[in-house]
Structures are given as structure tokens and as C-alpha cells.
């Protein structure tokens, strides 16, 4: 049974449609990430689930209750905010106890629960402090504690790591993952950071301009994107997109001088049709396959690997991974890729399979 089901939810602010017929099913105990660029509606959707934003149409069901018209306090969800949103005049212990106090729990039980959560998150020494006396990472830990303490049906995370520096972000990301594995509660997590999405999610929902572009496991989105937007949004560096023309009765594409075999595609393409060929940087470091000559511009050395930025004879810019050598500015190198790993998209950006 789905723990959360969002059915055909729409919302607009004046003339701006922020959510357009969005449906998402979240399985009990799973970790679902809503991913998309800023302004795609992911936070609005999360706030709608929390009951903080009313929706124009659609239904939201948590567990077996239709909560569409329930206020936030009756939905039995907990939320962690990007800005932490800790109560400034309460100590850490009072912050964590607040949801219990609002539900009228007695003092002793409340104290025990707060102590338990503090132990789990290793924030026991901080309990008597005020939020302003904590670092960013500690504040977010306290905010997570405040969400955990009530043991709600659903955890919502609204870009919880965006205000932290890179090192802390990685650390807390791992901690959230560990937390989810140990308590196995249903979590919905909003982010614009595809690395967070790929590392945390059981399922990713990619949103763009209020619509769902694709839903799937991290690997399926990476390997088998439905469209150029998802292909480009997932994976770093970004997938390269090259203009190509169909030749040989739909059996091949040409891009520049190169000829790419596409006889494995089920769809039959007409000669002369213009399509887009998508190749990931990490697939351009092969020994054999289709060759592309690249005039090197910049090489980024990351230690274990390097990324070469450059231009093809057509003028299209390409980023390619390079594991063995580090070409310099002005050199021309040959990139090779296997046609089977390239993805083909039509003029509207839809995948051709």
C-alpha cells in the first residue's frame, strides 16, 4: 500500500501554473526525491503535502486518510526546512519537545523521547543551548531531531542541506541515508541537487515547470531517460547533445564527419530527419567506436580522472572524461564512444528508443 499518494494535484498562482496534474505514489518505507531546477514546483508540492499550501484541485492521501482538506497539524507529518526554522527563544531540548508539547504529551514521556532522539543524533551536549549558539550542521541535526521525535507517518525534507557547506553536506547526506535505513520510515525529500537525489533516493521524481518529466529509480533515470531534459539534468558533468541527421534508411546518423550506427533502435526514422544525439562525458573515453575529433580548450584535473572541455569541428562544445592522459589547450584528440550508449532524441526532446 502506498503511504503517500498524490493524485492529479494542480495549483496556480494567478496566471502561473506551478503544479500541473501531478501524481506521485510513495511506497511505505521508501525514500522518494522530488528533483528539479528552482521554480519547478517541487517545494510547492511538498508544502501541499504538509498542508501548508492549499491546492486548487486533486487529492492527497496519507496512509488511508484523505488529508486534502485537513490542516497541517492533523496530517501527522514532520518537516525539515532548508532554513532549519528552529524556534529562536527555545533551547534545543525545548525545540525538540515542541511537537510533543503541542500534542499534550506529559513531561516525563516527553523528556524520555527527547533524550532518545538526542542520543540517536548525537546532540546530547547541545540540549541546553539556544539555536543561535549552534553551527549550521548542528542546527540541521536539531531540526531533524524535532521531526523524528514524534514518530510521524511521513517525513518531509525541503532542501535540508542547501545552506550547508560542501563537506557538511556530504556528511549529513550520509547521515540521513543511514537514518532512513535504520528507522525505515517513509521520506519525501526535495532537492535541486542531482547528486543528493542519486545517492539518497529509492525513487526520483523529476519535475520541470510544474509537470513530471519522469519517475524512476536513480539508475533507470541515468541509463534510460525519457527525454533530453532528464538526460541533461541527471549526471555530472552534463550529457553532451549533438545535432545529427538520419541516413541509410534510418540505420545510421551522421554528426559532423562521424557515422553512428542506430540499427538497434526499434523506431524507424526517415532519412534526412534532424535529431539530437546525447552522449555522456564518461562514455567518450573508449578505445574503440565512433570517433569524434576534439580541439581541446580546458582540462579539469580531479586526480582520479579528468574532464576535457573542447569543441568539435562543427563548433559544438563537448565535455569528455579522460582517465589516462591530460591533453592540453590547442591539442586535437580523438574521442571514441560506443553507439549503443548514445541516446537519441527528437526535435521536441523526446527520447527515440
Amino acid at each position: 500500500m502506498a503511504q503517500l499518494s498524490i493524485r492529479s494535484v494542480s495549483k496556480s498562482y494567478g496566471a502561473v501554473q506551478v503544479l500541473d496534474d501531478v501524481s506521485v505514489e510513495v511506497e511505505e518505507g521508501s525514500f522518494v526525491v522530488l528533483l528539479g531546477p528552482s521554480g519547478c514546483g517541487k517545494s510547492t508540492l511538498l508544502h501541499a503535502v504538509a498542508g501548508l499550501n492549499p491546492i486548487d484541485s486533486g487529492t492527497i492521501v496519507i496512509g488511508d486518510r484523505n488529508v486534502t482538506n485537513l490542516p497541517a497539524r492533523d496530517r501527522d507529518v514532520a518537516m525539515v526546512f532548508q532554513s532549519y526554522a528552529l524556534y529562536p527563544t527555545m533551547t534545543v531540548a525545548q525545540n525538540i519537545a515542541f511537537p510533543l508539547k503541542m500534542r499534550g504529551l506529559d513531561r516525563r514521556t516527553s523528556d524520555e523521547k527527547v533524550a532518545g532522539v538526542a542520543r540517536l543524533l548525537q546532540i546530547e551536549p547541545l540540549l541546553a543551548r539556544l539555536p543561535r549558539e549552534l553551527s549550521g550542521g548542528q542546527r540541521q541535526r536539531v531540526a531533524i531531531g524535532r521531526a523524528l521525535v514524534r514518530d510521524p507517518r511521513l517525513f518531509l525534507f525541503d532542501e535540508p542541506l542547501s545552506n550547508l557547506d560542501a563537506a557538511l553536506r556530504t556528511e549529513l547526506r550520509a547521515e540521513i541515508k543511514r537514518l532512513h535505513q535504520s528507522i525505515r520510515r517513509t521520506m519525501v525529500y526535495v532537492t535541486h541537487d542531482q547528486t543528493e537525489a542519486l545517492t539518497l533516493a529509492d525513487k526520483i521524481v523529476v519535475l520541470k515547470a510544474g509537470r513530471i518529466e519522469q519517475t524512476g529509480t536513480p539508475l533507470s533515470l541515468y541509463d534510460d531517460p525519457d527525454n533530453a531534459f532528464v538526460a541533461g539534468f541527471i549526471g555530472t558533468p552534463r550529457m553532451n547533445f549533438l545535432k545529427a541527421v538520419v541516413v541509410d534508411d534510418g540505420k545510421a546518423l551522421t554528426t559532423g564527419e562521424a557515422r553512428v550506427d542506430i540499427s538497434h533502435l526499434k523506431t524507424k526514422l526517415e532519412n534526412g530527419k534532424t535529431v539530437t544525439l546525447g552522449i555522456r562525458p564518461e562514455h567518450l573515453d573508449e578505445k574503440q567506436g565512433v570517433a569524434l575529433p576534439l580541439a581541446v580548450d580546458v582540462t579539469e584535473r580531479l586526480g582520479s580522472t579528468s574532464y576535457v572541455h573542447g569543441a568539435l569541428p562543427s563548433g559544438e562544445t563537448v565535455v569528455a572524461e579522460r582517465r589516462e592522459d591530460q591533453p592540453r589547450f590547442g591539442e586535437t584528440i580523438t574521442l571514441r564512444f560506443k553507439p549503443g550508449l548514445a541516446r537519441v532524441f527528437d526535435g521536441d526532446g523526446n527520447r527515440i528508443r
Binding site: 497539524r73 514532520a78 532549519y84 528552529l86 524556534y87 529562536p88 527563544t89 511537537p99
Partner: protein
């Protein structure tokens, strides 16, 4: 160089204009009548407390002091209580709704007191409330509420909206959010508003002149009793003025320090 000198010269003139009357009032209150009007003025004199004795012997002044105290504290507390609930509500409303309501509140603030004081006087005489403290308390609370609302809104606006969202998810009802989250976070602003209301009420003359009876006279009205037909008792008048100013100067200094002491610091990013 020249501009700097000019700046300081201007500053000195301004300070003289502002502080000299204060100096004159306080100094005169410690002078005998003869010293007070000596020409040329006496700069060094042996201070006397006679004027203060006169003031403290005046029953009317003492009861006016008590009236002013009760009326200004109670009416300000009432205004802040009502104003803070209203300001909280307004601060949560969408911008367009809020703007219309703020305009209305602003119009109440700039409306001349005359507008309601005269009808209120008429009503008060009809129901025999003219000599009652509650009439004054109600009148001042009414005058102070719009002021308190517009000031408190700015303090509530400084509190991040996410705190309300967080509290709603945490199970709080609207009043709990106001009481447990917003009120403590805006404590500095609440105190500042309260003090400003007290200052205003303490000094107010016109409403007090119309709406007070014999038993409810406040200080600004009662001080005029030192302007008698026999002449002005300058010594007693300035001593009374000094006593009236004193608590307000202390409050004024307090309010400076209390305004927004970064109560929200640390709750959101930083």
C-alpha cells in the same frame, strides 16, 4: 576643514536649542523665586528643595501622578495585547489583502483625535462615565491600538515565515504559534511598543483635557493648576515638570536598548 567646522557648529546650535529648555526647567526647579528671575541670571546658587516640597504638598498633583501611572500602563498594556494579535494576523496575510487593511489602520492613525473625542465626551456625560478611569483607559487604548499594530507588524515581519510553517506542522494551532513562537521572538519589539505607548499616553494633553473629571485628571492637565490667577508659580511648575519628565527619560533610555535585539538571530541560517 571648513565643512567639518560648520557641521560641528550646527550640531552645537541644535543641541543648545534642544537641551537648554531642559536645563532651564531642571535648574529653575532648584532655585528660589528670587534666583529664578535674577537679571543677569544666576549661574551659581545654593539649591533649594522648597519647590519640590510645594509640589508634594499638593494633593492634586499626587493623585494626578497616580492617575497618569494607572491610565498609561493599563491602556498601553491593553493596546499592545490587542495590537499584537491583530499585527500577527496581518503579518500572515497575503500582500494584497494586507495592504488594504494596513491603509485602514494608517487612516486611523492620522485621523485627528477631535474626531472621536467630542462624541465620546458626549456619550460619557450621558452615561456618567466622565469621572471614571476606565473611560480614559479605553480612550487611550483606542488611540494606541493602530500605532501598536503598525509598529508590531514590522517586528513580526522580521520573524521568518518558516517558523510558522514549522509550528503548524509540529501540531500548533494559530494561537499557540502566536503565543509560543512569535511573542517570545518579538519580545524586544513588544516591550519597545509598550514603552512608546506609555510615553505617548503619559504626555498626551488634549484627550485628557476633554475626558478627565476631577478624580481622573492626569499630569499634563493637572500641571496647569500651577498657572493660577495669582500668577505663575515658576518654581513649583518647573519642579512638577521635572518630576513628570523623569520617568519618561528613564523609559526613553530603556527603549533605545530594547528595540530588536536580534531575537530572531540563529533561528534561520547565519
Amino acid at each position: 576643514m571648513g565643512r567639518r567646522t560648520l557641521f560641528y557648529l550646527g550640531l552645537v546650535l541644535l543641541l543648545l536649542a534642544v537641551l537648554f529648555p531642559l536645563y532651564w526647567v531642571i535648574v529653575t526647579s532648584f532655585k528660589t523665586t528670587r534666583d529664578a528671575f535674577a537679571i543677569p541670571p544666576v549661574w551659581l546658587f545654593s539649591p533649594t528643595l522648597d519647590n519640590y516640597r510645594t509640589v508634594f504638598a499638593n494633593r492634586g498633583f499626587l493623585s494626578a501622578f497616580a492617575n497618569s501611572f494607572i491610565v498609561s500602563i493599563l491602556s498601553s498594556a491593553l493596546a499592545v495585547a490587542v495590537g499584537s494579535v491583530a499585527a500577527y494576523g496581518l503579518a500572515q496575510q497575503p500582500a494584497e489583502l494586507r495592504r488594504a487593511r494596513e491603509k485602514f489602520i494608517l487612516s486611523l492613525r492620522i485621523a485627528p483625535a477631535l474626531l472621536f473625542v467630542i462624541p465620546m465626551y458626549y456619550l460619557a456625560t450621558r452615561i456618567g462615565a466622565l469621572n471614571k478611569h476606565w473611560l480614559l483607559i479605553a480612550a487611550y487604548a483606542f488611540v494606541n491600538v493602530p500605532f501598536a499594530i503598525s509598529l508590531l507588524i514590522t517586528f513580526f515581519d522580521d520573524i521568518p515565515k518558516e517558523l510558522r510553517d514549522a509550528a503548524r506542522v509540529d501540531g500548533a494551532r494559530e494561537f499557540s504559534i502566536f503565543w509560543h513562537v512569535y511573542l517570545p521572538a518579538a519580545r524586544g519589539g513588544i516591550i519597545a511598543t509598550l514603552i512608546l505607548c506609555v510615553l505617548f499616553t503619559w504626555n498626551e494633553f488634549f484627550v485628557a483635557l476633554v475626558l478627565t473629571g476631577r478624580d481622573t485628571q492626569t499630569l499634563p492637565v493637572s500641571i496647569t493648576s500651577f498657572l493660577t490667577f495669582q500668577g505663575i508659580q515658576w518654581g513649583a511648575l518647573t519642579a512638577a515638570a521635572t518630576l513628570i519628565m523623569l520617568p519618561m527619560i528613564v523609559l526613553g533610555i530603556l527603549v533605545q536598548g530594547q528595540v530588536v535585539r536580534g531575537m530572531t538571530l540563529g533561528s534561520v541560517k547565519g
